[in-house]
Symmetry: C2
Subunit: 357 residues, 2 copies
Amino acid sequence: MTNNPSQPNWEGYSCPMPLQHTSRIVLGHGSGGGMTHDLIQRFFLPAFENPILKAGNDGGVLDMLDGQRLSVSVDCHVVWPLFFPGGDIGRLAICGTVNDVSAMGADPKYLTAGFILEEGLTIDTLQKVIASMQIAAEEAGVSIIAGDTKVVEKGKADQMYISTTGVGVVRKGLLVGGACAQPGDQVILTGSIGDHGMAVICARGELGFTGDLVSDVAPLNWLVHTLIDAVGDAVHVMRDPTRGGLATSLNEIARQSGTGIVIEEHAIPVKPVVQAACELLGFDPLYVANEGKLVIIVRADKADQALEAIRACQYGKEAVRIGEVRDSPKGMVLLKTKYDSQRVVSMLAGEMLPRIC
Amino acid sequence: MTNNPSQPNWEGYSCPMPLQHTSRIVLGHGSGGGMTHDLIQRFFLPAFENPILKAGNDGGVLDMLDGQRLSVSVDCHVVWPLFFPGGDIGRLAICGTVNDVSAMGADPKYLTAGFILEEGLTIDTLQKVIASMQIAAEEAGVSIIAGDTKVVEKGKADQMYISTTGVGVVRKGLLVGGACAQPGDQVILTGSIGDHGMAVICARGELGFTGDLVSDVAPLNWLVHTLIDAVGDAVHVMRDPTRGGLATSLNEIARQSGTGIVIEEHAIPVKPVVQAACELLGFDPLYVANEGKLVIIVRADKADQALEAIRACQYGKEAVRIGEVRDSPKGMVLLKTKYDSQRVVSMLAGEMLPRIC
């Protein structure tokens, strides 16, 4: 293996937001938004400096000696409650990592799973989560090849946490990543936003009604596979907008690539029940987590073909074009509102929904 | 990648111990001993069934298309307290995974790290842990190529947990693993046992004195590299006796390979301060965790050469031959005591020292 010098990186990146400086970890440091980025920039990146990590994508890409490239990604899952409409921590742990590996243009093949169990967790609960992981792994076609189980005393965890690392083989000749977005590229979203976050909030009983809120948690590797079969290296960026939502993912991409991304509010699908729940709680769906959606940035001349391929997939039927990449304003995301005005969409600053994934 | 059909497996394995059956997770399920094995056998393996996982080693080995093989391993680290004489959770997180990958005959190259942080953790503590990880990663020559950070509410974790997954390239032509032990092989231990476990207990203030107890936590990849350079495929098994200690690791190997392992009490190095602390608390050093030691099972004709190579390494100066592999009693470990009697050494059954790694 050798490092990949061709990877884009975060050099010169600086966070334009006023951040809450503190001497202690607060929930916002886990939001996936501005505070998480600040934490990474200030403490993790300087210590673990290497070109793969600095690329700032959801997965690292390794060059093997024979020209094969591997995509490797890690996620810790601390979602509360463990079970929610449409999924549970087990399905989430498989899909979250499968999707991060896929988003680097790879076919995920192997997963490791580490379990931190709280003393007193029922074996029944553990079994249900394992069964759900098994189903999700089968759907995604991945094998869990190594595992670890630790138990902590009652009160030192919240039932269970699962961390998963995925390994996949990157398609030959493909280079995708946040820095690869180019002016003129089209922005595709594979379906409606906010479903996962609002389903989990609903499961917490914070809405006062149950409604039809269902998480979208799903493995997207077959969709990615189909897309790349269809348009190959016309795909420049793929990212699953989880914590921090669509707004945060687009901001990351705009910064990594030094481009401006303009999206159209009317084009972004939000289910009425999600919209209603968001209004009730004062949330903007642009910032609510998704677990079965991808933002795909693709060369303009292949956008129609890409959309067609995505729509043929189980989890891409409602895919739409939501905007485009421009030269400027560099590192920023603009939203054309339904009223034809324009506003800046910033990265999620603090924490909106802790333990959403 | 393809699965590796040549891997040994746990088929037909059955746990000979009476296990505490319960409807809830107890600390013993995280001991690394009999109850952990039972949990894995009953719930994880049937669900995630595949030959790599079933091999029952500390790391999975993947066959790549070009004949290159990768070793992949995962560990969750929940040690308490975070800092102890000789190390901390950060050094442990790097070394634990480096050693598991190395034990499959691989050169570890890449790590992923997932952090679960408790709200209220001081940034100062986080920085110290990150700095320690950086030093250990540099010593081992590994890069952290992907990370994830989650924050949970105060009281839902104990300061911080770290899970690490490692990826390394297995040396060409090498097949090591618990099932590869053969009658006649010699058993080498790279140094004294019990240092890590007793250092952590000491840091908890449970001994009432501080003494000179220092954890042995160290990356063993250079030692493994040197050993394989010296004796190549004469190395049949390598395992780091962490949770559950030397006794548990040897029992795992005896079961995986269907051999009997006989070790000599007088040959097993235990530091006087460790022995004293164990006696004070009623512990048997054979079951106390190590984080910088390897059990190495090697073809008899290469044992001297192996010992010489190991002793030339920083972390192998006190390596000794402690026993040998026999035809029988199959799946068991026998200890020749200092008084020339023999007794069965079983796997750790319950939990002795929770959160030791």
